[in-house]
Amino acid sequence: MTADPWANLKQFTDARIGLGRSGSALPTHEVLNFALSHAMARDAVTTPIDWTPIEKGLADLGLATLRIASATHDRSEYLRRPDLGRKLSDHSREALMRTAEMENGRPDLVVVVGDGLSSMGVSANTVAYMSALLPHAVKAGWKLSPVLLADDARVALGDEAAEILGGKAVLVLIGERPGLSSPDSLGVYLTLSPRVGIKDADRNCISNIRQRGLSYEEGAFKTAWLLREAFRRGLTGVALKDESQFLLEGQKGPELLG
């Protein structure tokens, strides 16, 4: 086996660098490490979510919750039928209509938490992210609906749910497809004037929110910045660029290269 003398660069990234080689191939232990990571990610996709600790954590933040579900029947159908994952089940649609009747005025923001493709990402990050976002929402005076906890959800499920509740914007927190080195990543999608059939180009996305990725504070700061700008300019999507600068100010330092 030929070792890589730059393997100490691994301190800067989770990427699989400095692996060494056996001829043109990966060394044995790296082939097997990769296979194990893949096996674990496959298992993560199929593990059902447990909402109970998330409900409790959100309740501790003073947030009410409501469980909803998409129109899919099981995990296998969820994977093959994204159209059903974007639609509410009849039962959930009726529940949301009852909630809308009881609510006093339109919410500024509807927050939907969907299991997506990584229940681990949702379980690990939802409460901490919401805890970081809440002070921004309080400061801005945004009225929040109950947080909707959605089984077998795609991002667009939030559009129908928020439309029923009359939300001015919808924020969908969803488990991102697991990577080998990051099975626990949360994505956040922001859409102004949510309604059934809106295009993905009309959303803004912040991805890789997790302990070893984008921090909860940075993710919440970006979300709040985008929300303020969305309300001010009346749009989300490709026309709204993230110019929050927050990340960069935290990272100023000597040029790394050149």
């Binding site: 003398p5 893949h38 994204p82 159209d83 991805s207 490709v238």
Partner: protein
């Protein structure tokens, strides 16, 4: 109306659109769209009917109305009748026979490109086996240039993809060193950014430009962000080599990406004005993938492989350096397993090449698809044999930003060793000069004077 008798049954197909869809080898996305053949026998009957359709019929019958779709208008308005003439008398089946015959020399096949429509090419691919897709594509040579020469016969390049989940510059720099030390990066050093923040994107562009200039690397860089963001970056003085955009095969899917054909022209003009290429001026980088139109609800009842091929009609208007079909990224609802991903990768490469495009392939899958690295080995080998212009090089095949698995720097070495494929000549000469490779192109023992190793030590210090 198209009709065929097969196995004691008469099958009818009401339109070319329906015939193309039902003749497509099975895949989950066409089932999801409700356009797939209802039985295995109907699938083969549709292939038989399609084989008898004259190529000229594709000029008379469009699958999405001219008035409704700017991609259809582009296809119809730019069709080159003179280039089409050598095959204009053939049926789809006869075209397959001709393509695979000794008469179809690389020169003749390459000259056809402007005379072929995406639907003609998609049609012939549907009646081909995987091995036909390999040999057919191998005849279509497409060479492009910016700072090096990509796509020469017997050569294969690799995109160095050093993504990092938070765009951390030191993390990205570490992956760039790793990739270069393994001999990857001659197609492009291309980052998928986590952020679309213009300042962050400009910083990444400056960083890659510094590396390329400091080590005099004959390659180009790209940050794969929306074309409008790149246009803004150019206006603010950023060092942009290649303009990136995801594209699809209908006006609706391009709308869903927030892109108009006019944006692509504007982006190309802006990049050309910088005159940063040294050996050529192909300055666009497009990515595509089967299923995007259905995903955007803009498929008009067409099958996903035909629509993918229509995306290449968009690409070829802008003389790209690289076109990359990101074949397994979209997920199991479009391509369910390794078999479907392998088939789609071979189809996309063949169809793009026949239409005159510098096709590469992101040989990849996600963790919710029924596929693994063994499936990727098969597709990689077959695309290498088919003459693919470039593949991805990702540390350990694991993209920690986009959360999917592709091909690694090691995989590129594997296919080079198995098939004797060389890197872009300018890049190969550079690797030998700095001591990464020996003159035969194989990795050399690590040499202390290698400036990349010195750089790696400085980074870690």
């Amino acid at each position: 109306m198209y009709r065929v008798h097969a196995g004691g049954t008469t099958y009818t197909f009401s339109s070319l659109k329906e015939l193309l869809a039902k003749a497509t080898p099975p895949r989950s996305g066409d089932v999801l769209a409700g356009v797939a053949a209802k039985s295995a026998a109907e699938n083969v009957a549709a292939k038989m009917a399609l084989a008898d359709v004259p190529l000229k019929q594709f000029l008379n019958e469009v699958i999405i109305p001219y008035e409704q779709d700017d991609v259809t208008r582009l296809i119809v308005d730019t069709h080159d009748t003179a280039a089409f003439a050598p095959v204009s008398h053939m049926t789809v089946g006869e075209f397959r026979d001709w393509l695979l015959s000794e008469k179809a020399t690389p020169q003749k096949v390459s000259a056809l490109a402007p005379g072929l429509t995406p639907e003609m090419v998609a049609a012939v691919s549907k009646i081909m086996r995987n091995q036909d897709l390999v040999l057919g594509a191998k005849k279509a040579h497409v060479v492009t240039k910016f700072r090096d020469t990509i796509g020469l016969p017997g050569h294969m390049s690799a995109r160095l993809q050093p993504n990092h989940p938070t765009d951390d510059k030191k993390g990205i720099a570490a992956s760039i060193v790793d990739g270069l030390m393994y001999g990857s990066g001659d197609a492009v050093i291309g980052i998928n950014p986590a952020s679309d923040n213009i300042t962050a994107i400009t910083d990444l562009l400056v960083m890659m430009d510094d590396v390329i200039r400091r080590f005099e690397i004959p390659t180009q860089s790209c940050v794969l962000t929306h074309v409008t963001t790149t246009i803004d970056a150019i206006a603010k003085g950023a060092p942009v080599d290649l303009v990136f955009q995801s594209i699809g095969g209908t006006e609706g899917v391009n709308d869903s990406f927030g892109v108009k054909l006019s944006h692509l022209k504007e982006g190309r003009d802006a990049a050309l004005s910088l005159k940063r290429g040294t050996v050529g001026d192909n300055c666009m980088y497009f990515e595509t993938g089967q299923g995007s139109a259905l995903s955007a609800d803009a498929h008009h009842g067409c099958d996903q492989q035909t629509l993918e091929t229509r995306a290449y009609a968009v690409a070829r208007q802008f003389k790209p350096l690289l076109v990359n079909t990101v074949v397994g990224f979209i997920g199991p609802e479009y391509l369910y397993n390794g078999k479907e991903i392998i088939r789609a990768g071979l189809e996309d490469h063949f169809c793009g090449k026949l239409l005159g495009l510098p096709m590469g392939c992101d040989i990849c899958y996600t963790n919710h698809a029924e596929a693994d690295q063994d499936d990727m080995d098969i597709l990689l080998m077959m695309l290498g044999a088919a003459g693919v212009n470039f593949i991805m090089g990702i540390p350990g095949a694991d993209d920690i930003m986009l959360n999917y698995q592709s091909t690694s720097f090691h995989d590129a070495l594997y296919v080079r060793e198995a098939l004797g494929l060389k890197r872009a000549p300018e890049f190969d000469a550079w690797l030998t000069k700095i001591g990464v490779t020996d003159p035969s192109g194989h990795l050399a023992p690590h040499r202390p004077g290698n400036p990349l190793l010195t750089h790696a030590q400085a980074l870690a210090a």
